[in-house]
């Protein structure tokens, strides 16, 4: 995509979705001359709908604490990438139209009219934010710029400014229930292939059930696992086989991720939530276990209860409480803590003897979902040596690709490289041999950026991969 130049400043923007993709998303692009007015109406709607957005617009005192804590600013030194500065792109407009001081003393308080230039800037910078919430964690007021980015992206979606990557993935969700646009046949073929691999490694065949009626557990893998991270699927399969679960994978809803959370919560996120509950009703599921996906886990854990605001299959008011939604690492950790899984970290196929592993805490796990401890419980039990990054846990830095900022256009790829500078420095400092990134987006970012941009040749795996490989099955050899 050619660079947009706004007031002498070059803007890097992700490629826009074509008219064909927008049609599949049921989005109508607003003509350029009407975009600012339409965007303003959406902003008015969101400010009345979400207290988090109003508070982010009205509480900031511009103290600047967030600046040096944001990987995007550290990597680019662009003032609009300071979380307070990024929120200010919207706050200026908000002040101009929705506050007393902005209407009376516009220039004095930094208020601005909304124009097409403003929207071009939003489209650039709200797709440079990775919604990692580190600014929310460090802000003395707890202002979460992620909420501003989400609202900004939803407003842009509403007027038809949608990036091709998010647009195509969401269109695939409408059509097939996963972002990779995989058919049921593709799932089954991948499963067969992986079953063969497991048989080769362990001398024991394990099947991946698909759409099996009367299953107790629905396992929802990230669709990226089928394309990029087969070890993650194998790891989860081995865990379920080990505990003897009556489990299945649904071909109707094969997506642990949910780009709707990141770009459009009203339609896309709901579509997957509805697909999930329909699957649950159809297959008689009693518990839903989600696979490795950072933002996805946040979407399912924190948003599903409030998005389940309708009756499902006549099942009643609090369906989400009767069919709990859990993460595979919470379940594994519950077993590990009680010592019920036999894991041999010294005989792990994925970690050769003498090698160490470092853990990248995915932002959404550690700042939005409280999964910090359980990740460590599982990792320390499965690999011989762990080297922690500093800072880690809830203070961890983002991989630089969060919220699917995984664009391949040259200038956006360059930015992804810059966003990950802090992370790469952290990884190098640990001198670990293997990187554990239990999130599909982190993995996708690292595959592209570590190897191609930073030329850091380090194997990347999910966490359940290590758990699966370290499991000791009775009477079967371990390779």
């Amino acid at each position: 995509m050619p660079k947009k130049i706004v007031k002498g400043q070059e803007l890097s923007q992700p490629a826009r979705a074509s008219a064909r993709v927008l049609k599949r998303l049921y989005v109508r692009e607003v003509p350029d001359e009407h975009k600012p007015a339409e965007a303003l109406k959406w902003l008015d709607y969101y400010r009345k709908d979400r207290r988090s957005l109003v508070m982010a617009m009205e509480s900031c005192v511009k103290c600047g604490v967030c600046a040096n804590e944001c990987h995007a600013y550290l990597g680019t030194k662009d003032p609009n990438n300071i979380p307070a500065g990024r929120a200010d792109l919207m706050r200026k407009v908000y002040k101009r139209y929705f506050t007393v001081q902005g209407r009376l003393f516009g220039n004095l308080v930094g208020a601005e009219e909304i124009t097409m230039d403003t929207l071009e800037k939003w489209y650039s910078y709200y797709y440079q934010c990775t919604e990692c919430r580190r600014c929310g964690h460090v802000c003395p007021f707890g202002i979460d710029t992620c909420e501003v980015t989400m609202a900004g992206r939803e407003i842009l979606w509403g007027i038809g400014m949608v990036p091709d990557l998010q647009g195509a993935a969401s269109a695939a969700v409408y059509e097939r229930g996963n972002q990779g646009n995989m058919t049921k046949q593709a799932l089954i073929e991948t499963h067969d292939f992986l079953s063969d691999e497991i048989e080769e490694e362990r001398g024991l065949r394990m099947e991946f059930p698909v759409d099996k009626p009367n299953s107790d557990i629905l396992y929802v893998p990230s669709s990226a696992d089928y394309l990029l991270n087969p070890e993650t699927l194998k790891g989860a399969c081995q865990f379920f086989e080990y505990v003897g679960a009556n489990w299945t994978i649904s071909s109707h809803m094969t997506e642990a991720g949910n780009f709707g959370l990141l770009t459009e919560q009203h339609s896309v996120q709901r579509e997957l939530v509805e697909r999930l509950w329909r699957t649950v009703a159809e297959l008689g599921i009693k518990k839903i276990v989600f696979g490795e996906c950072g933002h996805g886990w946040r979407a399912w854990k924190m948003y599903t209860p409030s998005l389940t605001d309708y009756a499902i299959a006549g099942a009643g008011y609090d369906y989400h409480k009767r069919v709990p939604i859990v993460h595979v690492h919470d379940e594994v950790a519950a077993y590990v803590k009680l010592g019920k899984l036999k894991l041999n970290p010294r005989d792990n196929r994925l970690v050769p003897v003498g090698q160490s592993v470092t853990l990248h805490d995915p932002c959404n796990y550690c700042r939005a979902c409280n999964l910090i401890q359980n990740l460590r419980v599982n990792l320390y039990a499965s690999v011989p040596e762990v080297r922690e990054m500093t800072p880690n846990g809830e203070k961890n830095f983002c991989c630089g690709g969060g919220s699917a900022v995984l664009y391949d256009d040259p200038e956006m790829f360059e930015l992804r490289g810059k966003f990950s500078l802090k992370k790469v420095a952290q990884i190098k400092a640990t001198e670990a041999d293997i990187l554990c990134a239990p999130c599909s987006i982190c993995k996708a970012q690292f595959y592209g950026i570590l190897h191609e941009y930073h030329h850091l040749d380090i194997p990347i795996n999910g966490l359940i991969d290590f758990v699966g490989a370290a499991l000791v099955f009775k009477g079967h050899r371990q390779i």
Binding site: R47, V54, M55, S59, N68, P140, F141, A245, K287, C366
Partner: protein, 260 residues
Amino acid sequence: MELFVGKILPYVTVAILLGGITWRIWRWMIGRIVHNITLAPFPSSWGAAVAWILWQIVSFWNIFKFDKPLWVGAWPMHVALVSIFGGHVLGIATLGSQFHLLLPWIVTEAQSEAASNALGTTFGLIFLVALLYLLYRRFAVEKVRVISAPSDYLHLLLLIVIVGVGDYMRLFHAVAVEYLAARDFMLGLILFHPGPMPVIHETGLMNWYFFVHFLAVQIMLIIFPFSKLMHPFGILWNRWIYNRPYPEPPMGMPGVKLKL
């Protein structure tokens, strides 16, 4: 001039301040907390969440952890501000005998007034120095300068004027306003029977230092509800969204052979 600033404007100021704060908070409450978007590590209960919010307010913990050069200015500034606010209310209401009334068997009235004066001067100077430091920081540190609007500087300048004049009156006794004169003036306002502003006692002329101090404070109170000065309320409403407990579902999968 004295009639307007000393007898009419105070009532307008208070009306705008209270009405403005109410209006602003009412606006915040229109939007819903749509989803639970609490920040991890989750507080274990509402008690823990409230304790965390209070700890953040009292200690400026996040600033201390992530930006010590800012904390060095911001925390003393706010402590001085709260102390001075309390000192104005208590000192003027009790004519400087607040410590005597608190601990009558230990502190005499004269000691109380001396302590009140000493604390007032100390915090006044801390306040001024901290404000100048914060203003310098806003100009000098690039990451803060690039996100600052003119109003961010003006807020600091306004406070500096208030404190500067206040400190001047405190340090140069010729233009000082005694507790009694201040109390009479405030009492007049509160009882809707406003009297004249305090005068310079040597000459009996209008105390312009007090006039500027009193006017600047009123300007601050008028813009308070319509600016970022609302942040002491903002932190409560904002952290209420982000610091809350989350009930975790129980572990253990149904129908497995290897039970927990």
